[in-house]
């Protein structure tokens, strides 16, 4: 990927005594689709607002295209933002909404003056050119027929398009999007996800996208930055973040339904023991105390017969999602419950209360140390590589 366009270096933000962001560093490449993913209140919106210039960092450095922009006003950064509430000007028509950023940037103060502004030389021809730009964007977003309406007369999805259009119309250096899809209904959200990706591919501008919805993050982004408690825990492609989480927090946050976690410890031969079962692989480093074993629901399977290395439990609940069937199994030798994904097409003879045997897909278990950090297995060059 090309060189870094936007850079955050040790950015810290405090509101009074509360630290909202702690030494956040992040680099975003030109043309990238980067998502800031995290639970609500984690500081992801604050990061976006600091990039936009709407908040100033308490400490640290933000640069855009190599220039430090800490003190540059938002309107001079040439970034565009799409808000969760859309923030369209309700008293202006869609056309005027789209025209506003162009007028503010391309006309002088006197040319924008009501009534007499038109009398200044060049105003009229300039406005004609700007209107053409608005029409072009309206065509791209298929909102040409809405141009004369007011935002109050539009549906949520249409308002969303207008907000996008207002951001697009002046061709900014990057788009900042603050949960733009969260006010839409589920069906439209899935549709707009695809539209946004298509738009990003067509215009090739950097997108910085904030969301708490991991489905959005996983489906749309080139890279995801996981933000929690004001810190960036991991930055990586959707596959990396899902398959090779760097810590227990990331592993538990990414993935729906949530990853199963079970207590474990280190056996005498350096292998991990989990509820009386021993994992086949050995840890690279030994000497850890209490361990946590992470198993994703899709890496567990119900077996038709008992084997020595399977979990034994009682089926307490089943959720049928059509394409997937999730089984809640209460383990016999432990008071925890695990979640198992099964294929509903397989004839499933068990009913609630039955004893079931749950086996593991080999090589998929993840082990986390007492501090929540991911522990690598021995003989395993990287966390990505599959080992048995």
């Amino acid at each position: 990927m090309s060189e870094l366009q936007i850079r955050l270096k040790n950015v810290t933000k405090r509101f009074g005594a509360t630290e909202v962001l702690g030494r956040v560093s992040l680099g975003i490449s030109e043309g990238e689709f980067l998502t800031l993913l995290g639970p609500s209140g984690c500081g992801k919106t604050t990061i976006l607002r600091i990039i936009a210039g709407l908040e100033s960092p308490t400490d640290g450095e933000i640069s855009l295209g190599g220039n430090i922009i800490n003190t540059v006003r938002p309107c001079d950064r040439d970034l565009a933002m799409v808000f969760q509430t859309y923030a369209l000007y309700p008293h202006l028509t869609v056309r005027q909404n789209l025209l506003t950023p162009l007028l503010l940037r391309n006309l002088t103060f006197m040319q924008r003056f009501p009534l007499i502004g038109r009398l200044f030389p060049g105003t009229r021809s300039k406005i004609v050119g700007l209107r053409r730009q608005v029409n072009a964007v309206a065509d791209t977003l298929k909102i040409r027929h809405l141009l004369d309406r007011k935002p109050g007369q539009l549906s949520g999805g249409q308002q969303q398009r207008v907000a996008l259009g207002r951001a697009m119309v002046r061709k900014p250096r990057a788009f900042l999007m603050d949960e733009p899809l969260s006010n839409l209904d589920a069906e439209l959200r899935v549709h707009m996800r695809a539209e946004l990706v298509k738009l990003h591919r067509n215009i090739g501008t950097t997108f910085i996208y904030v969301t708490h919805d991991q489905a959005e993050a996983l489906t749309m982004s080139d890279r995801i930055a996981i933000v929690m408690d004001g810190r960036i825990l991991q930055v990586g492609s959707p596959e990396e973040v899902y398959e090779a989480p760097g810590s227990l927090k990331v592993a538990e946050f990414v993935g729906s339904p949530k990853m199963n976690t079970l207590p474990g410890s280190l056996g005498e031969d350096g292998r991990v023991v989990c509820l009386g079962m021993t994992l086949r692989r050995q840890l690279k480093e030994t000497g850890h105390g209490n361990l946590t074993i992470g198993l994703r629901p899709e890496h567990l399977q119900v077996q038709s017969a008992f084997t020595p290395d399977c979990f034994v439990g009682k089926l307490v609940h089943r959720e049928n999602l059509g394409s997937d069937l999730f089984l809640h199994v209460a383990l016999n030798n432990n008071d925890s419950q695990i979640l198992v994904r099964a294929n509903p097409e397989e004839v499933f003879p068990f009913s609630i209360g039955d004893e079931v045997w749950v086996g593991r897909v080999p090589g998929k278990a993840m082990v986390f140390g007492p501090d929540g950090g991911r522990l690598a297995f021995g003989g395993e060059p990287s966390l990505m590589e599959e080992a048995v």
Binding site: R49, A52, G53, L54, R73, P74, C75, D76, L79, A80, M81, F83, Q84, T85, A87, L88, Y89, P90, H91, L92, T100, P101, L104, R105, K150, G152, R166, R170
Partner: protein, 317 residues
């Protein structure tokens, strides 16, 4: 099909009350305005449009209209602008906003009649605080030069302040040049706190994201953001504030009654004071009713304008 009559019962109390205490009195006043009735008289005569014609004919009624209009045209713009200004300043404060709100709202809560006596002392030509304060500057050279325009090279004796210093400070309530502005000043002092509270409510209702969006769109200065967001978003508040202030200004009575009694030479002879004087003091109920009808006409017109704007122009959703 037999329809339930329950709805009639539900609206009846409100309708009956409105008819008895509002509609009927208005019609009675309307009827009385065509008579020469006086309270306690055994009978009355129909006089046709005579009372209304008097309003067009006699100069004291012309002065009445001009006094009311002057008052409204001074008080409404000043108190609305001051209210908006104060609201924006207070809402931009991080601390101390509550104290300013309380201070500015105090005149609204206070009884105007009681406050009028305080103003009477303040504006007294001899013992009043206002003139004592103003004449301080006559002895202080730099204030004198500043206020007379001497610093710009103008002759100080010809300016208003220079003459006031030489010939004595004005009699605020007793001089017909100053009586109306003084009454209007008290009106502004009393009204703008109320407008400020309305504007504060309007300001808090504005979506903060709109300001952020305006900043991102290129509105760099506070003035640009005011023009793009604050002013238009306050549209419904403007209409409400303007109407309420206009109606309340038309109704001004207590300061006039307490301080000037319509004088000097009818310069503060506002409508409500006139109808009080004619209808109650002089017991010319017919004439008082005629003034009342004209007064109601003005208020009705203002209300209609408000309804029109609320429905047409400034409704965004």
């Amino acid at each position: 099909m037999k329809q339930s009559k329950a709805h009639v019962l539900f609206v009846a109390p409100a309708v009956v009350l409105m008819v008895v205490i509002l509609i009927i009195p208005v019609f009675v006043a309307g009827a009385l305005s065509f008579t020469d009735y006086g309270l306690g008289n055994p009978g009355f005569n129909w006089v046709g449009w005579k009372n209304y014609a008097a309003m067009l004919k006699f100069s004291s009624y012309h002065k009445m209209f001009s006094a009311s209009m002057t008052y409204v045209f001074i008080v409404v713009p000043c108190s609305v602008a001051l209210g908006l200004g104060a609201a924006m300043l207070i809402s931009s404060l991080k601390i101390g906003g509550e104290i300013y709100k309380a201070i500015f709202f105090l005149p609204v809560m206070a009884t105007l009649l009681a406050m009028a006596f305080a103003w009477e002392f303040t504006l007294d030509p001899i013992i009043g605080l206002a003139n004592a304060f103003l004449s301080l500057g006559c002895r202080e050279e730099w204030i004198y030069n500043l206020l007379t325009g001497a610093w710009m090279g103008l002759p100080p004796e010809e300016s208003w302040y220079g003459r006031a210093c030489a010939e004595g400070m004005p009699n605020w309530l007793g001089d017909k040049t100053y009586a109306m502005p003084s009454i209007a000043f008290i009106g502004i002092w009393q009204a703008f706190g109320f407008n400020m509270v309305l504007y504060l409510a309007g300001l808090t209702a504005i979506n903060r994201d709109l300001y952020a969006a305006a900043s991102m769109d290129g509105a760099g200065s506070a003035w640009e953001r005011f023009r793009l967001v604050t002013w238009p978003m306050l549209g419904p508040t403007h209409v409400f504030v303007l109407t309420i202030t206009s109606i309340r200004s038309f109704q001004v009575f207590d300061t006039v009654e307490a301080l000037t009694k319509g004088g000097p030479s009818k310069s503060t002879y506002v409508m409500v004071y006139a109808l009080f004087e004619k209808g109650i003091k002089q017991n010319l109920v017919g004439m008082g009713s005629a003034i009342t009808m004209v007064f109601l006409g003005f208020v009705f017109l203002l209300t209609l304008t408000q309804v029109y704007f609320i429905n047409k122009k400034v409704h965004y959703s």
